[in-house]
């Protein structure tokens, strides 16, 4: 991995982020709906046009769109994403508050998926065609097929409403009540992690079967190595490489899945303010959050590319 290659990749990522921000900014201003009107219309009945005009002026919506765009770019250079039109709160503070929570369910869901998917995949590959393999493959197909919001709703129905074992949803800071925090985290983590667990299961199983068919496995067995050592040291180590790649690629898609999971479980991550901001045409908030999500996507891609480049120097030579 060369410095020039890295600089080029980072520059490309920044350029992409700017393109995304510009598209979102322009598209939002093109769709109908006026934030000032909406803000003052929530009582069911709109206020008089004078109040709306007053608020539009206060919010700076009277300025030409290119002037607003210029101000937005200027702010971006100073790492200032502006303030919400709805409640005058800095967008950056909102993101700083919410992003860790979104990352927390992604992280918890990923851990859960690894803990379930990888061992199950290994076990299924070692007992190929057995009862566990067949059942687990069926369950994995099912988990992939059922949408996140259906699983989420079923979990709430079963665990909260029927068995009353878990809270229906919501959020409490870990520092405030660690036990309740983990209880509230559990169901969203299951909902977000179930698809990834199925993917990891299938990937691990297939990759293990590939690795098991290699000559070196037969040689290791012939040498008289302990079967456990053959599996865990030789086979698994080789089989996990593609699994890790798939994991990296899927981390990004989990970001999309969290929108539904956060909504279903009332988890106050980035999705709620994003949905609310879109509804209210809160331009700075929408652009800020979308920009954050895209930067995270780009960052994950960059890291995956860097890993590839480190592992396989031919990547940078291309």
């Amino acid at each position: 991995m060369t410095g020039a290659w890295l600089a080029h990749r980072i520059a490309t990522s920044l350029f992409m982020a700017w393109i995304v921000a510009t598209i979102v900014f322009m598209a939002l201003h093109l769709v109908p709906g006026d934030p000032a009107e909406l803000l003052l219309s929530t009582g069911g009945i709109s206020p008089d046009p004078a109040s709306v005009a007053e608020l539009r002026e206060k919010l700076g919506l009277e300025r030409p769109i290119m002037v607003q765009y210029g101000a937005f770019l200027g702010g971006l250079l100073r790492a200032d994403l502006g303030t919400s039109l709805v409640d005058d709160y800095p967008v950056l503070s909102e993101i700083a508050l919410r992003l860790p929570r979104t990352l927390e369910i992604i992280f918890a869901g990923t851990l859960l998926a690894i803990a379930l998917g990888v061992p199950a995949g290994v076990y299924a590959a070692l007992h190929r065609g057995g009862r566990f393999d067949r059942i687990a493959s069926g369950v994995a197909a099912l988990l992939l097929a059922i949408p996140v919001f259906v699983v989420g709703t079923l979990l709430v129905l079963l665990m909260a409403q029927t068995l009353r074992l878990m809270p229906a949803g919501g959020y409490v800071a870990f520092t405030q009540d660690p036990v309740l925090h983990l209880k509230l985290l559990a169901l969203p983590a299951v909902a977000i992690g179930k698809g990834l667990a199925a993917v990891l299961f299938r990937m691990t199983r297939a990759s293990m079967l590939d690795a098991l068919a290699n000559d070196y496995v037969r040689t290791a067995h012939a040498k008289g190595l302990a079967p456990g050592r053959v599996i865990f040291v030789h086979v698994l180590r080789n089989a996990l490489n593609p699994v890790i790649t798939v994991l990296g690629l899927h981390m990004g898609t989990l970001l999309g899945g969290t929108v539904l999971v956060e909504y279903v479980f009332n988890w106050p991550g980035l999705s709620t303010p994003l949905l609310r901001a879109v509804e209210a045409r809160d331009y700075p908030m929408v652009v800020g959050i979308v920009l954050t999500i895209s930067v995270m996507f780009l960052l994950i891609n960059l890291i995956v590319e860097m890993l590839h480049a480190t592992l396989d120097p031919r990547v940078t030579a291309r």
Partner: protein
Amino acid sequence: MTISRRTVLGAGVVAPFATLPFLSRPARAQRASGILRFGLSAFPPNLQPWVSTGASAGTVKLMTHRSLVSYDSKGELRGEIAESWSIDAEGAWVFKLRQGCLFHNGEPVTADDVKWTIEQIAGEKSTAYMRTQFQDIERIEIPDPKTIRLVTKTPQATLPSWFANYNTFVIWRKSAANEPIGAGPFRLVGQERGTSLDLVAFDKFYKPGFPKLKGIKFVVYADENLRNAALQSGDVDIIEYVPWQSMAAVEADPRLKLDSVEGPFMDVLFNGSKPPFNDARVRRAIAHAVKRDDIVKAAFFGRGKPLEGVPIVEGTPWYDKDLARGWNYDPARAKALLAEAGFANGFQTTLLSTAQFGMHKDTAEVVQQHLAAIGIQCELQLPDWSTRVSRGIRGQYDMAIHGVSADNNDPDGLTVVLDTSLSPTHGRSFKVDAPRTIAALARGRAEFDQTKRVEIYKDMQRAALEEVPLVGLAWRSQGYGMDKGVKGFTNLPGALTTSSGAMLEETFFG
């Protein structure tokens, strides 16, 4: 040591039970602490005391602020900061203020604060919900520190009810711009943005013995099913907006109770700026074409009532049995009216609603079916709510479906939906001609004699049935679901249901 498959399986079976203490729910811990957990449907965009930001924000504001008057559990006006009010010989409203009212900072509530509040709401740069009404106040006089006299430009019979609206709170006149200081029964002590708000009782509240709770924790559940699940699983003690499909389950649950009223209503709005809806006969044809029972069943799971006239609440003096059915379902009459207007073969048009709220979409679909039966083919337009609002205000539609409640239970509270001469909004028909209805509303507002007012509003209903500034479709049930242990909370009748938060100062655990 070898780990057999049996050991692993055994551990798998035992483990969930070992974690049960971790999973067990705290048994009604909140009740002992006197903190009511309230499931809100939306996090307040802001808590500005005079800007309308929806009913959920209104509920929170009703806790931290007080105005001159509010509503009691029967929906009648009762004194708050004002002890009494009356109209004097010159037609001005005079409010006598209560002794010993304090703001949360300990400052007494004075007539100067009330005057300042009214001036702010009516101000030129104001974005207050009641700005237009308050601009009718010509002069504010303070004859003595405990009396305030409001001289209006035109007679205003319902002026005291303006102060019961949850967007007209009295604020300490020296409050910082972003920190309004109120005189409500609770103080806001903390909030988790987008998630929850924590209130504690204000120990110097002017009514001795109130509030009865030590505090309220508002938790936001935007998804209606989750809000209901939170109530059923015991996460919260009370929720607003019980989803219609869940009302039966709440009623059936031995631990819960449902308090629902018919308050808000659904209606059809028209764009009267162009044919065919500039013809009252066409609008009336539509009023007779829709079978309302279907809407109640399809959109509200039977939790509502057909509305075949001007939305006047049954049981009030203004209600008239015959007028209330003035737009009864009569497809033959609808067809005859269409023919009379020159549309014997019907016509093509559009119906604007929103897919964002199921009840709006479902109502629109039922209306579409019934109109098709008399030859009016509607193309449904179902954008998101923001676009629906924007297009409504600009008159970019032919017909629209709307759901709303009047400002209060007095027929004057219907002005916002019936007076089509007011500035365009998404909640009123666009440029529909209804001069007699509007004139009757103005007469009712200027008349102080109750018997005469009843007659005037019957005239208003007759005029509206002919001029059709809107078509009433269905009353919809609005319900609070709560634990049976929650006492003293009442869902206020009719249009006032969204102001029921005022009852939380009387709420307690029994």
